[in-house]
């Protein structure tokens, strides 16, 4: 039976068998390669982020699509979605957080080991969204520091992937001393952590 729409008619040439991360700047000679430790660690970290999804509502459904085969977040080194905060690097808060849920989000954040990053996915997690009401937390940045906000209600999987790429960018460029600095400590103290 003839199908109304034919798929995959155009053969796409395979560009490379394995996609490799870009090499950092450095000096290279025969048998050695010299670069700064910052860059090597940044490179390793950014391409092996373990996300911890904290999905509470409809944005979570979009996240499931993002993890699925079609959008495939695994391409960015985030194959392994961990459900233990002890093992994960990236807390993805996906969906509405009620005020009663606020302490739970904070608890999960505190259980994560440094270095840790936070992504607020969707309008509700970023700002309370349409739920401008007495029972909903008006953005998770009231309880924990946030690195990347993904707008949308709900955001499409492409937007979530864009957020992950921005997180990767932050992770790759982060100085190794940042988490020991006064500025970072001051940030955590402003949230009453430590």
């Amino acid at each position: 039976m003839a199908r109304p729409v034919a798929y995959n008619l155009i053969k796409k040439p395979l560009e490379a068998d394995i996609s490799l991360a870009e090499m950092p700047e450095g000096s290279m000679g025969e048998g050695f390669f010299a670069t700064s430790l910052n860059k090597v660690i940044g490179l390793a970290r950014k391409n092996s982020i373990w996300p911890l999804p904290f999905a509470t509502s409809c944005c979570g459904i979009e996240f499931m699509a993002t993890m699925g085969s079609h959008y495939d977040l695994a391409r960015f080194g985030s194959e392994r979605v961990g459900f233990s905060p002890r093992q994960c690097d990236l807390l993805m808060v996906i969906g509405t957080i009620a005020k009663k849920m606020g302490p739970v989000v904070k608890q999960v954040y505190l259980q994560m080991a440094e270095p840790r990053w936070v992504m607020a996915v969707g309008a509700c997690a970023s700002s309370g969204g349409i739920f401008d009401t007495y029972s909903v937390l008006q953005g998770i940045d009231q309880v924990i520091p946030v690195d990347v906000y993904v707008p949308g209600c709900p955001p499409r999987p492409e937007a979530i992937i864009d957020g992950v790429i921005r997180i990767q960018d932050l992770v790759g460029k982060e100085s190794l001393r940042r988490r020991n600095g006064e500025k970072y400590k001051g940030l955590l103290e402003s949230y009453g952590i430590q």
């Binding site: 005020k99 009663k100 606020g102 700002s127 309370g128 401008d132 009401t133 007495y134 029972s135 909903v136 008006q138």
Partner: protein
């Protein structure tokens, strides 16, 4: 069992203490003074003919313009044998919103009264554990009362003109 029969049976027992008989959408509704609420509920439960032994819902309504009777506590009762439902209201002032608890008669009233307290501040006398059930414990007001705006007042980033507050 008809609404007329229920009304007649109630009036035989309580004479003129029950007021405001009405039948919105065919559901018998009446009021009593708040001191009488347990007597009426007990009568409806125990009476061999009425047998309203299932508490479907318990909630409150705030009428800010109804001076001296600002809060209404509404009981929805169900006779499971004859499949008849009635609605029973008591009114209380907002200054001292004390109403006797129905949790001794209906176990279902326990959490519903906590919820009513949580949102409207109705003080159910004799309730075993009257504390907030749905909202955060730190909340220091009763959010469903009309004097409190729906929006979160802690927000500073929303321009009232743009967001139509």
């Amino acid at each position: 069992m008809t609404n007329e029969r229920i009304k007649q049976r109630l009036q035989e027992k309580f004479t003129d203490q029950l007021t405001g008989f009405d039948e919105p959408f065919g559901m018998l509704t009446f009021e009593a003074s708040k001191e009488l609420n347990l007597k009426v509920l007990n009568f409806l439960y125990d009476d061999e003919e009425l047998k309203f032994r299932f508490l479907t819902d318990l909630c409150a309504v705030h009428y800010p313009d109804n001076a001296g009777k600002e809060l209404a506590v509404v009981y929805h009762l169900h006779n499971l044998e004859d499949n008849v439902r009635i609605r029973f209201k008591v009114f209380t002032g907002i200054e001292q919103p004390d109403v006797y608890t129905a949790s001794g008669l209906f176990s279902a009233a326990n959490w519903m009264e906590r919820e009513t307290y949580d949102f409207y501040g109705v003080n159910f006398i004799g309730h075993p554990k009257l504390k907030r059930i749905l909202n955060v414990d730190e909340m220091d007001y009763f959010p469903m009362r009309k004097e409190f705006p729906l929006e979160d007042q802690s927000r500073v980033d929303k321009d009232d003109e743009m967001f139509g507050r």
